[in-house]
Structures are given as C-alpha cells and as structure tokens.
C-alpha cells in the first residue's frame, strides 16, 4: 500500500544561517543535521544539533522544522511546521 511507504533523507549543515560551507560542510564542521521523513502525504524535516565526534544527533535540540503537505503544497513553498506543531518537539513516531 503506497500509503505505508516511507523514505528518509538527511543533510548536514555547519550553522543555522547560510555560509560559505553550508553546501558541503566537512565532518568536523557539521553542527546540525536535517532529518527528513517522507510519506505519500507529507514531508517532515527537523534540523537538530549534531555532534561530529560522537556521530550523535540530539533530537531534543531542534533548531528548525519544516512540514509540507503534498496535496495542498506539492512545491513545498508553505512551511507549516510552526503552525501545526507549535514549534514543539517532534512526535516520537516521526523520528527515523
């Protein structure tokens, strides 16, 4: 059932704002990791703190979030993360 399928992606960042090495940060400079979970209905991403020495993401420290609903916003232009989750911690079932 296509509705049950899920795809995960991730992307590293060196800082909260765009800078010269935001596209391709070296491991030692990675401070944030964006984890995305995709279903047929929505795209949900949390940008969380990341420790490059321990290779550990801290899902309690959410820097930012994105939530797009595929049917109403296929081009992913209207981030409703803050509206719909009140900016709180991601629900456990959404974590990879």
């Amino acid at each position: 059932n296509p509705r049950e399928s899920i795809a995960y992606s991730q992307y590293p960042r060196p800082a909260d704002s765009p800078q010269w090495n935001s596209d391709k940060p070296s491991l030692k400079d990675i401070k944030i990791m964006g984890y995305s979970i995709r279903t047929i209905d929505y795209r949900y991403t949390v940008w969380v703190s990341f420790n490059p020495e321990e290779f550990l993401a801290n899902f309690s420290d959410v820097h930012a979030g994105e939530l797009y609903f595929v049917d109403s916003d296929p081009l992913q232009d209207h981030n409703v993360y803050n509206d719909s989750l009140g900016g709180g911690r991601p629900s456990a079932w959404m974590l990879p």
């Binding site: 059932n1 296509p2 049950e4 399928s5 899920i6 795809a7 995960y8 992606s9 991730q10 992307y11 590293p12 960042r13 800082a15 909260d16 704002s17 765009p18 800078q19 010269w20 090495n21 935001s22 596209d23 391709k24 940060p25 070296s26 491991l27 990675i30 944030i32 990791m33 964006g34 995305s36 995709r38 279903t39 047929i40 795209r43 991403t45 940008w47 290779f55 993401a57 820097h63 930012a64 979030g65 994105e66 081009l75 992913q76 232009d77 209207h78 981030n79 409703v80 993360y81 803050n82």
Partner: protein, 422 residues
Amino acid sequence: TDPLNVLFIVVDDLRPTLGCYGDKLVRSPNIDQLASHSLLFQNAFAQQAVCAPSRVSFLTGRRPDTTRLYDFNSYWRVHAGNFSTIPQYFKEKGYVTMSVGKVFHPGISSNHSDDAPYSWSIPPYHPSSEKYENIKTCRGPDGELHANLLCPVDVRDVPEGTLPDKQSTEQAIQLLEKMKTAARPFFLAVGYHKPHIPFRYPKEFQKLYPLENITLAPNPWVPAGLPPVAYNPWMDLRQREDVAALNISVPYGPIPVDFQRKIRQSYFASVSYVDTQVGRLLSALDDLQLAGRTIVAFTSDHGWSLGEHGEWAKYSNFDVTTRVPLMFYVPGTTALLPQGGEKFFPYIDPFDSTSELMQTGRQAKGLVELVSLFPTLAGLAGLPVPPRCPVPSFHVELCREGQNLQKHFQFDDSKEASSFRG
C-alpha cells in the same frame, strides 16, 4: 536458468526531468523507451543530496548515519565498517564486475580506487577527457576560453575531440562485446557525468530547447517560511566564471532571470545529450542479443534544484534535490522476452520529432529509497537477499538497511501480458 546479467546505469545529478516522469519539455526518448519495458518508481529518494554520501550509501546498502560519510573525506571501510558493496556481492557470487565512468565518487570516499579490488574484477575505467571538464574549454562571447557553468561546445574543438560520456559509452559497449561470449555473467556499472556541472555538452543539443520556450521554475523565490538552516547557497555555481561575472549577492541571490533560463536550458540540453548516450548503450545491448538476459537498472545519485525555492544545485532536503529516477528492466518479468531478433531498445534520435510518444511501462507509486538498490538487485538476479541489519551494524559486513522492492514486481500477468504484446 542462466543467471541474469546486470547493467547498472547511474547518471550524475539527474532529477526526474524525463518524458517517462511526465516532463513535457525534455526530450529523453531512449530513457523513455527503457521505461516502457520497465517498472518505474515514481517516488524514489536519495538518502543524502550530494554525490559521495549518496553513492556510498546506495552502493553499500547502508544509510549515511551508518557509513558516517556526510562529506567527501572518509572511506567507509576505514572510518565506519567493512561493509560489502553491491558489485562486491555480485563478484563474490561469480559475476565479472566492471565499472565505467563515475560510479563511486572519485577520491578519498572510495579509497582513490573506486573501491577496487573489493568491488571490481577489472580496473575501473575513467574517460581520459574527464581531466578537461573544469578547465577553460568554454568559448565565451569574447571568443576566449573560459571555465564557465554554461559550456555548450563544438566537440571537434575540445581537447581529444571527445567528451567523457561519449568515451564511457564506447568503453561500455566494448566490454559488452567481450562479455557476450564469456562463460560468466557480468555486472557492468556505467556512470555518466552529465548533467553534473559544468554543463559541457555538444552545442547542437541547445537547439532542442530554444530560449524562448524556457520558463523559470514555477516557484523561483525563497519561501517566506523557509528556516535559514534549510537553505543551500549554491556556492559551487558562483565559482564558475560566467556566474561570478554576474556579481550575485550571497547567500540568497537571485540570479538574473535571463541567466536562470539559460541554466535551465543547458540542464535540459545536457539531459538529452545523456539520453543519446544511454540510447547507444542500450541499442548495443540489443544488437549483441543480450537484452533477453540482462537486467537494466537506471537511476541517479540525487536530484538538482533548477531555481525552485530560489535555490540551485543539490545540498538540501527538498524533493527536487532528493527525488531521483529509478527503473528496472527485468527480462521476462517487466517485459516479455524479446522474440526472434525483436529489438527492445533501438536507438531513437531526440532530434527526430516524428519519434512517436512512448507508451508507459509499469509504474509503482509508493515511496522507495536508493538504499533499497542492494537487496532489490540481488533478489532480481536470483541471489540470496542480504539479511536486514541489526542496529547498530558497524560490525556487520553484509546486511541491508533498505527494503527489498521485489514485492513491487509481482504483476497480474494474465491481464498485463496481453497488453505487452500490443
């Protein structure tokens, strides 16, 4: 009963701007023809939208958090674990495994050896003309040579009079000719460099995309609610001479709209150029009577943003950078076996406007991941599917973190088979 060969085609930075994915503008008749005999996954996603991490992830069947490669600077066998790769697994099962062009990302992430000898039976091939890719070979309006982003070339003019992907196709065809009479099955991986930047392609392909027909992205601005951390500032484009000359503000630009359209024009032209290379390769498979006993898997390492969200290139989590084309031709499963010299993949010239619209093949809508390539290719080839990985799995050499997609290949043949003959 003979084991099926595998031809694995991976195209660098190719987003699903293809006819078989519904794109009305791009001419990709040869890839569309492959799709008409394949199972096409409409929603396939890379695990990270940048070359080396994505390639190491899908070639080892592990996610980036297991390969621990988020940049370009480590080799998983040293840095994370001695994980087996898809070609290595096929090699251990008796296949002759061969690499042409860009399959692993070159450099540290593949041990400066494309992970040979573990993954490959013979030394991997890299086209000699690749070394000119990023030097001044683009003739600008001033008649001088530049290292530009937009680089349509007269192939007779460029060093060695050829381009990397042309050389790769020639090499791959030679290997197919050798393997036709070989006693052992083969796993041939062909990695095309375009449409990765610079957009250096035979200039005639620009004629397929007159600038007046090229629109901007449907949403060419940075969305108001986009968190700054999510935005990628496309620094690699800015370093190209023609882009640098525009003095675009950092980080948000924008790129002047006429240049945006030129970038899109050259991306599409590069896609049609790669389509001709794929077409030559597949028609050779046909001519060598190998199409009836060779699985063809076609994909890319990640997508590419063509101005959506005011972004360019990859380096983000958006769908336009993570969604990839993914299709499998499996003789006797996604298509009936070619009968008596029947051709499945005759070469189609993208300049031939009379080439009829291709019928679509089988399609799957569910979301799937590139990390599923390993178990799926193993299963389709009749090899044992590697076991699921424990968590963590750094100590396990052979296991998989992706799903086996074979369940998508069970078709109701009675109804479908008759349509195939039609």
